[in-house]
């Protein structure tokens, strides 16, 4: 990482800690924010957070590795989480999975080479009566069909156009 990037990240995390509180109870809120913005929580970020909260970095790492929405693995700008639990499974999640993999050229657990998309599983996300369901970052899609997968992905891709910054905020707040 560039020195300037490091400084920027450290300053950003310090700002977050100031806003959310410099104590251990803010650890998960801080980590969620870092993940949302940087799509990864690398060892440098963990070190900075540990210093600010006066805990050992291994404590931060242990929390990061525990939760499904954290994790130190770099993810794409859009994380697509398909529900794999029984009701969505019975509603046809396997075909949606196949189409997602076909359209993105990756398998579940992977990120596209351009860093835009990650495919991941989710356990029951509470949309059992409207399955198959998937989350694109924080946005929920229900009754997804193999055919509608294309439009979901295209909506994300369009957000990378000329007005990427604004569009991203509008579409995936």
């Amino acid at each position: 990482m560039l020195m300037t990037e490091r400084d920027r990240l450290a300053a950003e995390i310090a700002g977050l800690a100031e806003k959310l509180g410099r104590n251990r109870t803010s650890l998960i809120p801080i980590l969620l924010e870092v993940k949302r913005k940087y799509h990864t929580i690398d060892s440098y970020a963990m070190q900075v957070i540990a210093d600010l909260l006066a805990i050992h970095p291994v404590e931060v790492n242990s929390v990061v590795s525990f939760y499904a929405f954290l994790g130190d693995r770099p993810q794409g700008k859009y994380v697509i989480r398909l529900c794999r639990t029984l009701s969505c499974d019975m509603a046809g999640k396997s075909r949606v999975r196949r189409q997602l993999e076909n359209d993105l050229g990756i398998t579940f657990g992977e990120t596209t080479a351009d860093g835009k998309f990650t495919l991941d599983w989710a356990n029951c996300m509470g949309m059992c009566d409207q399955g198959p369901a998937l989350l694109v970052n924080d946005r929920i899609h229900t009754r997804v069909t193999p055919e509608s997968v294309h439009e979901i992905i295209e909506t994300c891709r369009r957000a990378f156009g000329v007005h990427a910054a604004e569009a991203k905020e509008v579409v995936f707040k």
Binding site: N23, R24, L32, M90, G126
Partner: protein
């Protein structure tokens, strides 16, 4: 599709006003008299829980709303939070008055992040209306609520794991006792109640305990909100009296002809068609409200494998019976699918399941073998001696 008649009929803040007119023991007495039990599935009497926390003289106390709705097949709390959030916040405020708390936390699961903006808006409006903050409705009550986002862990629905997450740790359940009502968030007395429980508490204060006891059974009073999904023509959220039979419920949701119903989610039990005369109540089939209807075409091994993969993924790994037990049960299911499981080994797996029920540390491990054991009990003929499709 979603009908919440008695919820929708509530007069806004009637419960809160009634609570403010009562002293603290009277509020708890009303909730206790109603017989309200924890709607997340555990069924602990709410009034008793509040009373424990109220008895403490600690400097700080917390009211925590458990919106970490992760049990497979459960989505009623999402609907309640979307359509009746005021009722939940009202219930939290009443609980705060009852136990003497000034701080409330809504623990919202990460998967429901899209609800957050809506809920923050409701909280802001309640502050403006004087329903949160200092001197609520001109009384001496001082209480506010903040939202804490979960980070994706089923285990955080367990109350001590939830508190660990709030404190910034891995969501690993604690030994109980001490219970959160004595030593909860940051060591202070805390009550952790399900979304639906708090909403009912508000209704009970508004209408009185006898109103709540009008329906239900002796041991399971009142209505319950059910999340129905699977092989039925009208899936969705339903409100039924406690003690309804499975047959009756299936008729309402268009699930007649089902082969079985998975009740209580992955940690619940698989009820075969011959037992559909049984009732949904704490004394018979206890449930947090999840009903997954399984049609005649469903392969029970596929159902079990789905649940078992879920538990292997979601076990926090802290205690051995749950961490290893779930993996062994999943391996056993592979053998069954391949038709290579002897009866002796199946018995051994069942014994392992029973060990997990008694030896695991928390509710996840204790209940994760339920589905396996009930399917083996009722569908042995279907799952034994399989001939794999590739042979």
């Amino acid at each position: 599709m979603s009908t919440l008649p008695t919820y929708a009929a509530q007069i806004p803040e009637a419960g809160l006003k009634a609570a403010l007119a009562k002293d603290r023991p009277a509020i708890i007495a009303e909730v206790t008299a109603s017989g309200l039990k924890g709607r997340g599935g555990a069924g602990f009497p709410t009034g008793v829980k509040w009373n424990f926390a109220a008895a403490s003289q600690a400097a700080r106390k917390f009211v925590i709303c458990n919106a970490d709705e992760g049990e497979p097949g459960t989505f009623k709390d999402r609907v309640i939070l979307q359509e009746h959030p005021d009722l939940v916040f009202e219930g939290m405020t009443i609980a705060a008055r009852a136990i003497g708390a000034r701080e409330g936390i809504l623990f919202l699961r990460g998967e429901y992040a899209y609800l957050r903006g809506h809920l923050e808006g409701i909280l802001a409006r309640r502050r403006e209306q004087g329903l949160l903050g200092p001197a609520i409705l001109g009384s001496a009550l001082n209480f506010d609520i903040r939202i804490f986002m979960g980070a994706g862990a089923y285990i955080c629905g367990e109350e001590t794991a939830l508190i660990e997450a709030l404190e910034g740790f891995r969501g690993e359940p604690r030994n109980r006792p001490p219970f959160p009502v004595n030593t909860g968030f940051l060591g202070f007395p805390s009550i952790v109640n399900n979304v639906e429980t708090l909403a009912w508490a508000a209704c009970i204060l508004a209408n009185g305990a006898p109103w709540f006891r009008l329906v239900g059974t002796e041991k399971s009073t009142g209505h319950k909100i059910f999340s129905v999904s699977g092989d039925c023509s009208r899936p969705g959220v339903y409100e039924f009296p406690m003690g309804i039979t499975v047959t009756e419920l299936l008729r309402h949701v268009g699930g007649e002809g089902a082969k079985a119903a998975q009740i209580g989610g992955a940690s619940g039990q698989c009820v075969p068609a011959k037992d559909f005369g049984r009732t949904l109540a704490f004394e018979d089939i206890s449930t947090g409200g999840s009903v997954i209807v399984l049609g005649p075409q469903r392969d029970m091994l596929d159902v079990l494998r789905n649940f078992q993969e879920f538990f292997v993924d979601e076990s926090c790994g802290q205690c051995t019976p749950c961490r290893r037990g779930n993996t062994k049960l999943l391996e056993g299911l592979e053998l069954l699918s391949e038709g290579r499981c002897s009866m002796a080994y199946l018995r051994e797996l069942c014994a392992l399941g029973e060990t997990m029920q008694v030896a695991s540390k928390c509710g996840l491990g204790q209940s994760s073998a339920n589905a396996f054991l009930s399917v083996v009990e009722h569908f042995r003929e279907e799952i034994m001696g399989r001939i794999p499709s590739h042979v």
